[in-house]
Structures are given as structure tokens and as C-alpha cells.
């Protein structure tokens, strides 16, 4: 397994993602600076949480246009698995790898808490270690996690089975309680909750560890 974590100037969960990968997958990921226009040969790309460019203009907007993202988009289109967590999910929608957009939370406030999620499908390399329909707990920490897509797009996402995770108790107003979605090919996953923050009991739970175990099994 050869994972890479993309680092933007104000990524702040880059270390958390690297720690989780190293702990669960047993391999130290490559940390790739956003200004690099080349990307080494890797088999997993993680876009971590944080505020990439201060979340100025729109969350993830400027990050999605940074040099390394052209290469990330190309790799994703060639089938390399790409995981975007929180700000990473926002970047993936801004980069056009995932449909829809993340808007400000309906209650207008930042929210950091544990949330219960339903695993909508275990038919992916990100979720194979879960049961479909299983309820898991991850942590959310975001101000713009309110998933939006227009009706037609939403219908398509649902019909294609692209919803990966759904909130049981929607913390941000996301349409259809969507917490995370796949692309059509299911090699790209973006989600607002943080699996990398739930990898050991001491942190409040270890449900997130199985996402990384799933990746180990399929890569």
C-alpha cells in the first residue's frame, strides 16, 4: 500500500490522517505539498480536513485549483482511490470529482460532536469492512457540511447508490441526510464526518478504524 496525504497551507487534519493510516494500515503515508505539480506513484490519495486556504471565498475552492489537484483529478479518473474527509470532501466537490456542494450549516454555527451514521453500502473499497445498514459513530467538526445538490442530481445519486453514509440525526441540514457520497465508479469517497478521529477507544471510539482496514484489504 502506497498512500499519500495532500497538504494545503491550512490543512489541519493532515497529521491526524497520517497517524490513522500509519496506525491502522501500518505504512507511513507520503505527505504531498499542494504546490507540487507532480504526484509520485501512489495507490491511495487522502485529502484531509482543515481550512486549506482559510476557507476564504468558499471552503475548498482555492485548494481545488491548486497545482497538485490537476494530477489528483487525473489519477481519480484513472481509478486511483481518493478519500476526502471534511474539508477534503469540500475540495472534491469544488474539483468536480463529486457532485453537489457543501453549504453553511443550517443552524449557521460550527458543530463538533459525535454523530451516528448509517453505512449505506459496504460495496466499496472504503467500506468493505462494515456491514451494509450498520450504525457507526464518527465525529463531525465543520461549519459548512450542509450537503446540497439539485433535485435531478440528488435523484441520480440515490439511484446509482452513491450515498455512502447517512446521518441518523442530521447535524447540518444536509439534503437526504447525506454525510458522504461516492462517485459513480466508487473509487472516490467524500464525507464530512472524520473516520480518522475514531480509531481508538481513548478518543471516544474506534468505528473509524474499519475504513482504513477496508482500504488495507482492497489495496
Amino acid at each position: 500500500m502506497k498512500p499519500a496525504v495532500i497538504v494545503f497551507p491550512a490543512s489541519n487534519c493532515d497529521r491526524d490522517a497520517a497517524v490513522a493510516i500509519e496506525k491502522i494500515c501500518g505504512v507511513k503515508p507520503l505527505m504531498v505539498w499542494h504546490g507540487d505539480s507532480t504526484l509520485p506513484d501512489v495507490d491511495l490519495i487522502v485529502i484531509p480536513g482543515g481550512f486549506s486556504f482559510g476557507d476564504y471565498l468558499r471552503c475548498g475552492a482555492m485548494a481545488a485549483r491548486s497545482p497538485v489537484m490537476r494530477e489528483v483529478v487525473a489519477r481519480a479518473n484513472n481509478g486511483t482511490p481518493v478519500l476526502g474527509i471534511c474539508n477534503g470532501f469540500q475540495v472534491l466537490t469544488e474539483a468536480g470529482l463529486l457532485p453537489g456542494a457543501l453549504m453553511m450549516n443550517a443552524h449557521l454555527k460550527f458543530v463538533c460532536k459525535d454523530v451516528a451514521l448509517k453505512v449505506e453500502s459496504n460495496q466499496s473499497m472504503f467500506t468493505s469492512a462494515y456491514q451494509t445498514g450498520e450504525i457507526v459513530t464518527y465525529t463531525v467538526a465543520h461549519h459548512e457540511g450542509n450537503y446540497f445538490a439539485d433535485d435531478a442530481t440528488l435523484d441520480q445519486i440515490e439511484q446509482n447508490g452513491q450515498v455512502a453514509f447517512r446521518y441518523l440525526d442530521n447535524p447540518n441540514g444536509a439534503r437526504n441526510d447525506i454525510a458522504g457520497i461516492f462517485n459513480k465508479e466508487r473509487n472516490v469517497l467524500g464525507l464530512m464526518p472524520h473516520p480518522e478521529r475514531m480509531i481508538e477507544r481513548d478518543l471516544g471510539g474506534d468505528d473509524g478504524a474499519r475504513m482504513f482496514e477496508s482500504l488495507v484489504a482492497s489495496l
Binding site: L57, R58, A61, M62, R65, T93, E94, P99, G100, A101, M103, M104, N105, A106, H107, L108, N146, F148, A149, D150, G173
Partner: protein, 80 residues
């Protein structure tokens, strides 16, 4: 040349900030505000002197960065 760009949420996209502003206006006694949509205003100083070229270039900027056309509309206003 100066370009003034307004970026607003598309109609039909929920605008929680606009709604909160409307609500607060109401509680301050400003009645009769039936809707508030909030957006962004950007001012760009352009070196370009040709109006059409400037318009094309700013439109491109909007499509590529300034607006997220999944949820936002934009309008461009050029002033000499």
C-alpha cells in the same frame, strides 16, 4: 478597467444566512422584508482595456473560481 462581480446563491438553494438576516430585521421592527438573499461582492482592477475581452476574461474567472456554479449565480458589471 474595473470589474464588479456579484455572486449570489441560485434561487431554490436554501440561504440560511439570508433567512437569519431576514428574521433579525423582523425582530428589529423592519417589517415588510419578504426575502433576503446574501452574497458576495468582488472588485477586480483589470489591466485589460478592451471591454469584450475583459468581459470574457472575468466570465472565465467566475466559472473557474469566483463562483461555484453548482449553487451560485454571478453577474459582471464593467466600469471604465
Amino acid at each position: 478597467m474595473k470589474a464588479r462581480v456579484h455572486v449570489t446563491l441560485k434561487s431554490g438553494v436554501l440561504d440560511p444566512q439570508g433567512r437569519a438576516i431576514q428574521h433579525t430585521l423582523g425582530s428589529l421592527g423592519f417589517g415588510g422584508v419578504s426575502d433576503v438573499r446574501q452574497g458576495k461582492y468582488l472588485e477586480l482592477d483589470l489591466a485589460e482595456t478592451d471591454r469584450d475581452a475583459a468581459e470574457r476574461s472575468v466570465k472565465d474567472m467566475c466559472e473557474k473560481l469566483l463562483a461555484n456554479t453548482v449553487i451560485e449565480n454571478y453577474s459582471i458589471d464593467l466600469v471604465e
